[in-house]
Subunit: 199 residues, 4 copies
């Protein structure tokens, strides 16, 4: 049984390894331009053997998105952000957290922007739904802030969209932001976003 448990862990571990290495390749060369042979080479797992750990190339892409969306969706569920009274504190903490997560999952976010259309329809819908729910989450905070008069915005839905989009700045345009450290980025991002909603 120890054997078995170890073996199962190995399987998960190797899956993770494949998915991460593949993510790096998809990020560098694009999904279509990356071949299963590339992935076999990168993971040093025999091409045929690869298929003992993943189901298909598409499956790998789904796993990548899942790896990024899972903690994201979880965070929205579990975080006690909803209990915070002051919308400004609530927003700032949320933005900080999400920016942090996006910066950590930079590659996955970029992939999401680039390759969502390759996903099987069901999975794609789930991805877009999660994305939409993030927007809704921020829309709620903005609305409450508007009602309390602490935020000055015209259209909370538009602002929420913009706000969520802004947070992926570093993921999509890091090539022009190399002069900043991740910490600096985070600080600038939070300030910039907060400034745009405060009166």
């Amino acid at each position: 049984m120890a054997q078995r448990r170890r073996s199962q862990l190995d399987v998960k571990e190797r899956q993770m390894n494949i998915v991460k290495k593949a993510a790096r390749l998809f990020f560098k060369k694009g999904y279509a331009q990356t071949t299963m042979r590339d992935i076999a080479r990168a993971t040093k797992i025999n091409l045929g053997n690869l298929y003992n750990y993943i189901e298909s190339k598409e499956d790998i892409l789904c796993h990548i998105f899942y790896m990024y969306h899972e903690p994201f969706a979880e965070w929205i569920e579990k975080e006690k952000i909803m209990e915070i009274e002051d919308p400004r504190v609530q927003l700032e903490k949320s933005v900080e957290k999400v920016v942090e997560m996006i910066n950590n999952y930079r590659k996955e976010v970029l992939l999401m922007y680039r390759e969502t259309r390759v996903l099987p329809p069901k999975f794609m819908k789930r991805v877009l739904a999660t994305e939409g729910s993030v927007v809704s989450f921020f829309e709620g905070i903005l609305k409450r802030g508007m009602d309390q008069g602490v935020f000055k915005i015209k259209d909370p839905f538009f602002s929420a969209n913009m706000l969520v989009f802004q947070m992926s700045l570093y993921a999509l345009r890091s090539w022009n932001l190399k002069r900043y450290s991740q910490e600096e980025i985070k600080k600038l991002m939070v300030e910039s976003i907060m400034a745009s909603v405060l009166p």
Copy 2:
């Protein structure tokens, strides 16, 4: 010679036609998922004949980026924006113009985000350079505004990056913004961006 000139015009015209039709296909299905046969079918130009007008599939992609970057670069050059005295007016007019252009070239902008990595390195550098020059253009305006005390921002380079990025919101996330007309988007975008730099 009349013959020749007409013939050359035809060549340009057909090139344009190919590039435009291909752009639509790349946008809809992705670059890798679009075949040269698809393009031949869409343009009603025989597959073999296609190669009398373009050099390769990659070449088409370069042309698409060129088509979008050309007027962009030209606008930066030619516009008399630089002569405007008040940085606020200068910024607002620029933002309005660029948002308008991005909305018009929505598909191309999305393609750029998705498929830049397929471009040959030389071309890619040129694209990124133009992109960088747009950021610099706005950075200049922001700096002048800061010096005059009409803008309240911390880091003009970061803000310029964010600002340029924000302007592509509609191109990249139109799927979640269907409730707005293009005009509404433009208005909201300009307001939102101006609000974030004014004190």
Copy 3:
């Protein structure tokens, strides 16, 4: 237009050529054991080019069955056999004709027995339906002969099945019948079948 007509003929001709060569290979080695590369080699058509003439490997198999079933189904429709008064003459002529056809399409018949299960469901149903209609055709003759008292059989449906089956003897067991010419086979077959229904 002459060009075009010639070209279309060529396409049909080559299709036929591919299907016939493939039939030979399927017959010799079996469907699954024959590769598209084998077929390319046998037809001297480049592997990729092959797919300009046929849709898939399965498609070839369908064409083979079609080539055999088409004249078969046509014969049942068009032949004036139905107008013959005497059931004995009617049966004898029919058996002679069908035996002849089966001997001509020996390979296709053998393939049908071997590889029907590989066909796409729709096509398979059509094949089995035609097969069933041949049995029905002979069942009708046998019934009429029974009513007139010229045939002595117990169960016309069973006899029709047996009779149709017997006719494929040469196709399925030619390896043990090499001592006979096709003409001899035909004669023996007709005699044997007629003998088994006459009183």
Copy 4:
């Protein structure tokens, strides 16, 4: 030593099990479409372990044919049919027995018709030889009946071939004979065959 004997029995038992389960799969899906993994799953024997009991996939097919041909060949050897005086009784008993056997080994007979060509040449020759000996066995009976004037046939070798072939009707065309029980089939078959040789 007791150990060893038991162990050897187990080996034979498991071999049998593998071969029978595989036969069922080959029959249902075809030889080429059945994978060793399918067989491992069906037998609940680990894929690698399978190879401790059989040599190869082809080897399994040989065993199946052997399992069917063995009792067949044995029957011909051992049965006291040869001692029966009246060729009509001799033929009727033989036909009844063989029809019974073929109905019992329906699947194997069908497999034989479908997949003989996959067998290694040596094995295939043996299969065809046994098949031939069955024909010879019946040819002998027919000849004696002809000499005694109790059978009325033209060519005993051809008739023997036809007769043996007829007996596999149910194995090869059961899909069109579902309305009959096995017992009915046997009766109809014997009657039909006897009728075709009696004057």
